[in-house]
């Protein structure tokens, strides 16, 4: 089964990438963007969905600076 993990900079923690993108957008003619955050996307095909959570804690995310969200998508590839 396919699992998707969305990993974001923790709330309140500096997000330099998001800041840089936000600063860049107006010059490219994109206005009215209030906030930008850049994180990581991890997609896995796993046999045991219950393993995804612990994987995030142990390896995929750095809980000190990142929040993560697990989405289980049926099917897979």
């Amino acid at each position: 089964m396919r699992a998707r993990v969305l990993i974001r900079p923790k709330q309140g923690i500096l997000d330099p990438q998001g800041e840089a993108v936000k600063r860049a957008l107006p010059a490219l003619g994109f206005s009215g963007v209030e906030s930008v955050h850049v994180g990581r996307l991890v997609e896995l095909d796993v046999q045991d969905a219950a393993q995804v959570q612990p994987m995030c804690e142990k390896l995929l995310a750095n809980p000190l600076v990142e929040d993560y969200e697990v989405q289980l998508l049926d099917g897979g590839s």
Partner: protein, 730 residues
């Protein structure tokens, strides 16, 4: 944002790390119990980190003056004259605790912090060096230490590489006592025109305080959060990051912006924001200028809305600077901030009140006498007592060293041991060449060499063998200073000045107080003898955990001058047929040596004594020979003794050697100060005997290291052993 909070209590003060007596003294200085903002600021400025409560008296004993010294301790970094109207600013600083929590960001922000100290005095950073200590990295038990090592090295590289400052050298040791308390110290060097140096003293009543750089968030508020007026919900609670994220891009802009502001003469004074953020920067600037300051926190650009005044004052958000400008220049200053895409805001003024006044939208939320904040924190005397027995457990027996190993086996075990193997897997992650100044990179010579305009050059080295300091804090500290000076001698550099970072355990414990006192005594004595005064440094105390204190680790950074960069020394054998000599008053001993460590032997109580003057004379002789260009290579004898030094010369030069040496272990692997392995014309080597002892050992050549009748190892086998650290990075 009015703060109609119940005033904090003494118990708040205690939980902020103040003692009862200190709290009462604060009440006395204030004439009333401090409010929330005031207590937050006192608790930081009266902390060990800012006030040096347990070290200041000791530090006063260090030599800080000399012909080359332009700026000594007291400013953000020290500086020495390097000729041609230029000065070199340099300093080492620790970021141990943040690195133990999150090694990548902790090490990265450590580099960011020391670089700010350099450009805060108007110097352009030209080099970084790192000094690292971790627990043992082999095997299962080594998992955590490997993770810390990987993270710290990646973080240092990330910051230094991205900001365009070369990381040109460093050192790393792996020892059990650092398991719970890793050390991450970073040293930086900068160059400036002598006249262009700027100080941090605020001046000119009516001048403006401008904060520029990154916006201010809830970074590093940690402890002070007990003062929060409203109890935070779970959700808000993690608005207080426990880890600070470094932004080298922001700091690169901040660096260029600061230097351009100075170049255009727009700044009266400049100060970085480090530990204790605005609180310490503003108070220090006021104190040094003997003036007052007034800051309105509502004018500080925030990353997070709804920050409380005390949070703004104590925030440790990275990549920020504070400067004093004349009102007429404000517009130009802010325009330059625009150009470099950094925030800039006038947040306050210089006053004659002699106090630090904190306003929130014009409303007074705190006022403290500058003197009370900065100067009146009580200093404590140490109560040193030499422990009756060695306090450190014996290291684990190394599996690499089989019982009664042959000299060959012992040499390979040493060469592949974590403290001796090639650091290439680490330093390959650093950019050592940006800025086109690097004449000698890691593994080309014992010290890094950086070209100066006009053909001279700087040599720089950072070093400390904590295990030897643990065996004998006084002699061990002297040896660490001598090791740095020996590295400089090998490239032809004469010491100009020294910086140091005193990493120790809990100074309130008598045996740690003893280590600290003895080490500082040795440090001062060695720097006096070498005429390499201390121009700055840092202190990191309380590095101990359940399993005891770290080894006492007075990390030494030394900067020296080469006359001619084209004659910078190399460590590798360079010419077949050259003679090889062991030079200097070297008395090898197995006490506290790497071999003893691999054998799992307990530290001895004390190191062998030696003649400081004789070592200094040998270093002078080597330096002059390198400068005269009569040597092919120069390398000092350190961990692993003469046999390892020979192997390193072979590997660095890709050439073998045939030598004669006693087969006994002390002669092969014994350690101690004062020894050099040199190669060159036999006559040139023998000529050194005028100044120091010289023993010709043999000649360069072939493709193996051969110690007659003792061992013979091919370069290939040596290289394999020397490359052992690489496995950790796969």
């Amino acid at each position: 944002m009015a703060v109609d909070v119940a005033p904090p209590t003494i118990s708040d003060a205690l939980s902020l790390g103040l003692t009862e007596a200190e709290y009462e003294l604060i009440c006395e200085k204030q004439g009333e119990p401090p409010n929330q903002v005031e207590l937050a600021m006192y608790s930081l400025l009266w902390s060990e980190h800012c006030a040096y409560k347990h070290s200041k008296k000791l530090l006063r004993s260090l030599p800080t003056e000399g012909p080359a010294v332009v700026m000594g301790p007291g400013e953000n970094a020290g500086a020495v004259d390097v000729g041609g109207g230029l000065v070199c600013a340099f300093k080492v600083e620790s970021h141990n605790h943040p690195s133990a929590v999150e090694p990548f960001q902790g090490a990265a922000t450590g580099v960011g912090g020391i670089l700010r100290d350099i450009f805060a005095i108007g110097a352009r950073p030209i080099a970084v060096l790192d000094s690292l200590r971790f627990g043992e990295v082999q095997g299962q038990e080594g998992t955590r230490s490997r993770y810390l090592l990987e993270g710290a090295v990646a973080g240092i590289g990330h910051y230094g590489n991205s900001i365009g400052v070369p990381t040109v050298g460093g050192e790393v040791y792996f020892e059990g006592p650092y398991e719970q308390n890793c050390l991450v110290n970073a040293m930086a060097l900068g160059l400036a025109d002598r006249e262009a140096l700027v100080r941090s003293a605020a001046a000119g009543v009516g001048n403006l305080l401008v904060l520029f750089g990154a916006s201010t968030g809830r970074d590093g508020i940690g402890g002070a959060s007990v003062l929060a007026s409203a109890e935070l919900s779970e959700d808000d609670a993690d608005k207080r990051p426990t880890v600070q994220v470094g932004d080298p891009f922001e700091e690169k802009k901040l660096l260029e912006c600061s230097l351009e502001l100075l170049a255009r003469g727009l700044l009266v004074s400049l100060q970085d924001l480090g530990a204790a953020g605005l609180t310490s920067s503003a108070a220090e600037m006021a104190s040094k200028g003997e003036v007052g300051v007034e800051i309105d926190v509502a004018r500080v650009p925030l990353r997070e809305a709804d920050m409380e005044p005390f949070e703004v004052m104590v925030s440790e958000s990275q990549e920020r600077m504070l400067c004093v400008v004349e009102p007429g220049d404000l517009e130009q200053v802010l325009a330059l901030c625009e150009k470099w895409e950094v925030n800039g805001a006038a947040i306050g003024t210089v006053t004659d009140s002699g106090t630090v006044r904190v306003l929130a939208e014009g409303e007074l939320v705190g006022e403290m006498p500058v003197r009370a904040l900065v100067d009146d924190c009580p200093l404590y005397d140490l109560e040193p007592v030499k422990p009756t027995e060695q306090i450190y457990p014996a290291p684990l027996l190394s599996p690499a060293l089989i019982p009664d190993a042959t000299p060959e086996q012992a040499l390979l075990a040493l060469l592949s041991s974590a403290n001796i193997t090639s650091r290439r897997p680490l330093f390959e992650q650093y950019d050592p060449i940006v800025q086109s100044r690097t004449v000698r990179r890691p593994e080309q010579a014992d010290a890094a060499v950086l070209a100066l305009p006009g053909g001279a050059a700087l040599g720089v080295s950072i070093d400390c063998n904590g295990r030897r300091v643990a065996a004998d804090p006084y002699l061990g500290a002297i040896e660490s200073v001598l090791e740095c000076a020996a590295n400089l001698a090998c490239v032809g550099a004469e010491p100009l000045g020294t910086t140091n970072n005193l990493n120790f355990g809990n100074p309130e414990k008598p045996h740690i107080a003893w280590q600290l006192t003895e080490a500082v005594r040795g440090l001062g004595e060695a720097c006096r003898a070498l005429q390499a005064p201390i121009v700055g440094g840092n202190v990191s105390l309380y590095n101990e955990g359940a399993t005891g204190p770290i080894y006492p680790t007075p990390v030494i950074g030394m900067v020296g001058l080469l006359v001619d960069m084209h004659r910078a020394g190399r460590l590798g054998f360079a010419r077949a047929g050259d003679a090889i000599a062991l030079v200097g008053p070297f008395a090898p001993s197995l006490a506290a040596s790497e071999l003893q460590k691999l054998r799992g032997e307990r530290l001895p109580d004390g190191l062998p004594r030696f003649e400081l003057d004789a070592v200094r004379a040998a270093q002078g002789a080597v330096r002059e020979a390198v400068r005269a260009g009569v040597l092919s290579s120069a390398h000092d004898v350190a961990e692993g003794g003469v046999a390892i030094a020979l192997a390193e010369c072979c590997l660095a030069g890709g050439m073998g050697a045939e030598v004669e040496l006693d087969g006994n272990e002390a002669a092969l692997f014994g350690e101690g100060p004062g020894g050099f392995v040199l190669s060159g014309e036999r006559a040139a080597l023998e000529a050194l005997s005028e100044h120091t002892s010289v023993r010709v050992l043999g000649t360069v050549g072939g493709d193996s290291l051969c110690i007659a009748g003792v061992l013979k190892l091919s370069l290939a086998r040596l290289a394999e052993a020397h490359g052992a650290l690489a496995e950790l990075f796969e």
